[in-house]
Symmetry: C3
Subunit: 206 residues, 3 copies
């Protein structure tokens, strides 16, 4: 079940990467690379942080084909994609939540402390998008806009909290998933956001 | 002793990260992440380069709370922070020097060659700031301005040189620390800098 | 033989890094660091991805001196370098091809699957340039322009294909090398490029 959601998620993330690459007028190769990095970069950074070798996708070459294929497919259908706007946002939200849970599971298996498990979940959830934005030379959107990264944090805390309380794993998954998805979709619908910190550069560090 | 300086240092670095995030109008989450990465990113890159697993901060979850707490605290006191300008620069300089020495020690313990030990010291000293600037989509300041990264290089060379000469470790620490701090503060006071390389793009690679 | 080409390659890459740093008016230290990262960053990212510790250059400190030396030397001769334009592009193309083959060899030795071997070759070939461009705060050129990254892909596929067919290793090296070099030089000469994906930002994700 989580596997299917994961496959949908990396496909959606690859497509979002391809669109970002298209906004930078990248070539076929650039589109493929950004699609791949957006989809699998979060898990890669997590594995490298935790010393979890071999890195996950190197054991599943089919993920490489899937994400690059999704990126190239996006080039073909880009002109129609705004009709799929809502679907796309839902898939992306599912990806965020699924990545977070999977990231927590990896760190739990390696017996890291709880705060590190939370960081691993968030890293898996948001670092693909951060790498995408760095490669496209723009400030990472997940640090700027709406409730996005915070959804990842909430999912990680809820998932670990319910686990601690001894809740059945399937029910836990369902609850964490639903709560995360609901919060993310509510954030999109009503433009929920965290307080923003605006600091005007002063004399002291310019 | 080095531990206390280290704790002060990561706090100061986290605050500098939070201010940079504020200049990009990031939200609470973005501020926390940039604070964390600025403070602990240098050591993380060093550990990943050297294969020093588990990465240091994953064994000290309190560092996560400390750096994120410092980042959020900075949001509250940002309007007063220019009054603390001098204190802040001194804390940052202490951080640079402490990080460098600690980075060298990690590589020495893993028995890397001297040039790698120096690189590990510099990486620990400056990569937090480089990651902060990459995440804020600006050219890394440490590669542009004043004697900053060079202070890290000098401290690493002095520390290893005195060690080679058999100088007592505490005296070595004190000497390296004082020299690095003095050079950094002198660089700020008199705007010391290295020669700059300005290359105007020619036809050949545009 | 491959070693000599490799040494020429990292020198050429270090010089291209130094020129990019010069365009950002970096100081001596910035130039050295960018030269080092451009030359050895691709192999470093590959080693960290594959868990191939210790990272290659940490076992060859002379590479540190060579790349930093090449960077500083570039500062001295920058005003004459446009006369060497053609030579420089050839050296850079040799570097791209040599890095790719070396990257494949490392992943083969670690017994990764073929698609991962190809990714390791490409990573080694192009990530030094990507890191250079990220540190200089610009969109990575290899994802935008001409046949460059694609040459790396072709070389990796040809090299592994001929290996699969049981072709003698020296002949394989010669063939992959010649084909890659020829394609890259043809791409420069006739401005060959892949199709570009241009996506204008729509309402849906702005």
């Amino acid at each position: 079940m989580l596997l299917y959601i994961y496959l949908i998620a990396i496909t959606a993330e690859a497509m979002s990467g391809a669109l970002a690459a298209g906004r930078r007028n990248m070539d076929l190769f650039g589109v493929s690379l950004i699609a791949f990095v957006t989809a699998l970069g979060g898990g890669t950074v997590r594995d490298m942080l935790l010393g979890n070798y071999p890195v996950s996708w190197t054991q599943h070459p089919s993920y490489i084909y899937l994400t690059i294929g999704a990126g190239l497919f996006t080039m073909l259908v880009a002109r129609f994609i705004h009709h799929l706007h809502t679907l796309f946002l839902i898939l992306d939200a599912m990806g965020l939540v699924a990545f977070t849970v999977i990231g927590c599971d990896v760190a739990l298996r390696l017996e890291y402390d709880t705060p590190v498990v939370v960081m691993a979940g968030i890293t898996t959830g948001i670092f693909g998008g951060i790498l995408r934005d760095i490669l496209c030379n723009r400030t990472p959107m997940v640090l700027l806009h709406e409730l996005y990264a915070s959804v990842s944090l909430l999912v990680a805390l809820l998932y670990l909290g319910l686990m601690e309380l001894g809740v059945d794993h399937d029910i836990n998954l369902l609850a964490s998933f639903s709560a995360g998805l609901a919060l993310r979709l509510a954030a999109i619908r009503w433009s929920l956001s965290l307080p923003v910190f605006s600091y005007a550069p002063g004399r002291w560090d310019d």
